[in-house]
């Protein structure tokens, strides 16, 4: 129903799209995911109301948006589970609606909530999916061993999935999505339930997968996490893409947080250089700054201003303990969306 243009139909057979990422013909890898004008309603609820996005191959793209903004629906359409009402989707050049199998063969999808077969062991779960993707058994066994090592589940490989903790199940789900070495990865809240160590591992893993030339689309609420690993960001709000890049508007004003050993000295200096400050969350709004450790928040135009301000403050003898952005860029953009929500 979406594309009448079926130009990639003939390529549905075994195309020469050999190894994973880059097609040998084009010097720059083609975009892994292209979405144009995507709409999907459930009854009267418009879950997706005009989504446009491009996720580059070889990059991690963050999908950010408040609850109910259509992230999961978008990922379901991309995974080939839902037919969009209108709009155009290409996964590695294939339309998930008209060319479902070809698109699915290249897609690894990790849903936000999923179950495991409780009486199967982790290894059996992965072997089952390898078989479902038609990977020859011998090759599947090596692949599964690698993946179990990658997600640090080797010691749980032969225990039933029911004994796994939530985070371990999450890691098993990630391994499952990777079992067929997909070119395009769709991850819905992959970090939820993960301990800090696993989060770092996830970040490194996704980074590496992207560096191999794969397309990685991650939705998450842990914005600081996303900010560290994402190259691009797409913002969804009420089923619409609001903005598809963090840097598109140039350097944005940002809130900075400064902690000093003596707060009164810091605030006095800030006032003298003309910065409008306000106490941070720990501070007392009414009491004047004392000669005790404390922090303040203020807005700065860009990073260069921040660097200059820190140098000047240290030179002026302000006992600075720490100086850092109060919020991430993603978080700031997200909060801006949040204001729109009302």
């Amino acid at each position: 129903m979406t594309s009448t243009v079926d130009d990639d139909g003939p390529a549905a057979g075994p195309p020469g799209a050999a190894p994973a990422p880059s097609t040998p013909t084009s010097p720059t890898p083609p975009p892994g995911i292209v979405v144009r004008g995507l709409r999907r309603s459930f009854g009267s609820v418009r879950a997706l109301d005009g989504v446009d996005l491009q996720a580059r191959a070889g990059a991690v793209t963050a999908l950010v948006g408040p609850n109910g903004s259509g992230k999961t629906t978008l990922l379901l359409v991309l995974a080939g589970l839902l037919v969009p009402d209108s709009g155009d989707v290409r996964i590695g050049g294939f339309d998930p609606v008209t060319d479902g199998r070809a698109a699915r063969a290249r897609t690894g999808w990790m849903p936000d909530t999923f179950g495991t077969w409780d009486s199967l062991t982790s290894r059996e779960v992965l072997l089952t999916f390898a078989a479902a993707y038609r990977i020859p058994p011998a090759q599947a066994r090596t692949r599964v061993d690698e993946l179990l090592a990658t997600v640090h589940l080797t010691e749980f490989a032969d225990r039933p999935a029911s004994v796994l903790s939530r985070g371990q199940k999450q890691r098993l789900g990630l391994a499952r999505a990777l079992v067929h070495s997909p070119d395009v990865l769709l991850l819905d809240e992959p970090a939820s339930g993960l301990d800090p160590r696993s989060r770092v591992d996830l970040r490194v893993l996704l980074r590496r997968l992207a560096d191999e030339g794969r397309t990685v689309l991650v939705s998450s609420h842990v914005l600081s996490e996303l900010e560290e690993m994402a190259d691009d960001a797409v913002f969804l709000s009420r089923g619409r893409t609001v903005s598809s890049s963090v840097e598109s508007d140039g350097p944005a004003p940002r809130t900075w947080h400064l902690r000093a050993l003596a707060l009164d000295a810091a605030t006095a200096w800030l006032t003298s250089v003309g910065v409008t400050w306000r106490p941070d969350d720990d501070g007392d709004l009414l009491a004047p700054p004392a000669a005790t450790p404390g922090g303040v928040l203020f807005e700065l135009a860009d990073d260069a201003t921040a660097a200059r301000l820190l140098r000047d403050a240290v030179t002026a003898g302000v006992p600075v303990l720490s100086f850092a952005p109060a919020t991430g860029l993603l978080e700031q953009a997200y909060l801006a969306l949040d204001e729109e929500r009302t």
């Binding site: 190894p19 589970l81 037919v83 009486s119 199967l120």
Partner: protein, 379 residues
């Protein structure tokens, strides 16, 4: 973590040709590999739960207990003069196994699709290269294998009944095959409902109602329609036209035409024909066709249905004085048994219902989905 990099570089050329016979398939594409993957997955899930072992043990004990009790009761009643303990026991065990099978089997498949959907495991399977037909067939196969496990558990008791004599040996083969195929049909029905209904409780109830409709409601419906097939008709009668006269002389029997109530069961016999018990009784081949029965309840049931299928004889014999009817009327007076087997129709009807359920399941498993059932999530 970094250990994987070289492998990533080496492997892709190998997996690509293996995984890219992708254009093949579509909704109805079917490979043994895919079916086996799903069936093994489902069976592993089942077999490893302890409930499964308990269910089989309970089944064995119940069937065994009832068989032994029946044997004891038959011995006590029949003494020496009735040689048909074997056929009666064989019929009883067959009916028991079929009845319990019809009770247990709907639960084996009626949560196959919606249960997985609720557990969040279905969508992850759907996005793989398995076709909807492979997923449905695998689940059907798994449910059927489980049903057949119950059947196999009851085999010793069928063999025991056979050993008591009076039943031809191949009857056990025919009974087991017919019961297995009927259970396959029930599995298909359950699978269809599991794909159609969002809640597992709802699909299980619907599967049970359907099985009950086939098993219990069909005889009831046959009984209820009996009056509509019965009408007053002019028929040829061999008997005393004036009835018993006041005098002692009964008078001679003669051929005349009179109005009688006639039941045309040849129009409604199929209501009984689709009943699984009738299917098994008709196909069991426990003895030759006979109006008088051969002592086997299975044969008696078959002969009864065949009689209903043949319908009323063209002429009625009301001559109770024992006078032999004229030779040209003999054939018309005899109650016929239909020689055409009933079981192919009944089995066919059941399998058709099962196939319908299977087709519904496959169609419901297709992705991407256009519509979603109310209140369900895809994943």
């Amino acid at each position: 973590m970094t250990r994987m990099d070289p492998v990533e570089l080496e492997l892709p050329p190998a997996p690509e040709p293996a995984r890219l016979p992708v254009g093949r398939g579509g909704t109805w594409g079917l490979t043994w590999h895919g079916v086996r993957t799903v069936a093994v997955l489902d069976l592993r899930q089942r077999v490893r739960s302890t409930r499964w072992i308990v269910a089989l043990v309970v089944w064995f004990v119940v069937v065994g207990g009832i068989t032994l009790l029946t044997t004891g009761a038959l011995e006590a009643f029949s003494a020496q003069d009735r040689p048909n303990t074997g056929p009666i026991l064989f019929s009883a065990v067959t009916a028991l196994v079929l009845g319990l099978g019809l009770l247990v089997t709907p639960t084996l498949s009626s949560t196959a699709v919606n249960g997985d959907r609720n557990a969040g495991t279905l969508a992850t399977l759907q996005v793989t290269l398995l076709s909807p037909a492979e997923i449905a067939t695998g689940k059907l196969l798994a449910a059927w294998s489980a049903a057949c496990a119950f059947l196999v558990t009851s085999l010793p008791f069928l063999v025991l009944a056979l050993a008591l004599g009076g039943t031809p040996g191949w009857a056990i083969v025919r009974v087991v095959l017919l019961v297995a195929l009927l259970l396959l049909a029930v599995c298909g029905i359950g699978l269809g409902f599991s794909a159609l209904v969002a809640r597992t409780a709802g699909s299980t109830v619907l599967a049970f109602i359907t099985v009950a409709a086939i098993t219990v409601f069909t005889p009831i419906l046959f009984g209820l329609t009996f009056t509509t097939t019965t009408s007053q008709e002019q028929v040829t009668v061999w008997g005393m036209q004036d009835g018993w006269a006041d005098g002692d002389d009964p008078g001679p029997c003669e051929v005349f035409t009179a109005e009688r109530s006639v039941s045309h069961t040849e129009r409604t016999w199929w209501l009984l024909g689709i009943n699984p018990f009738v299917v098994v009784a008709d196909g069991a081949g426990t003895g030759p066709l006979s109006v008088h029965g051969d002592g086997s309840p299975l044969s008696a049931m078959r002969d009864g249905v065949r009689m209903l299928r043949a319908g009323p004889p063209p002429a009625l014999d009301e001559c109770w004085t024992g006078t032999a009817a004229p030779a040209e009327l003999q054939d018309d007076l005899r109650q016929d048994l239909s020689t055409a087997p009933v079981w192919p129709w009944g089995l066919g009807a059941n399998l058709l219902l099962g196939a319908a359920g299977f087709v519904v399941a496959v169609r419901r498993l297709r992705i991407p989905q256009r519509t979603l059932a109310r209140g369900t999530r895809v994943a």
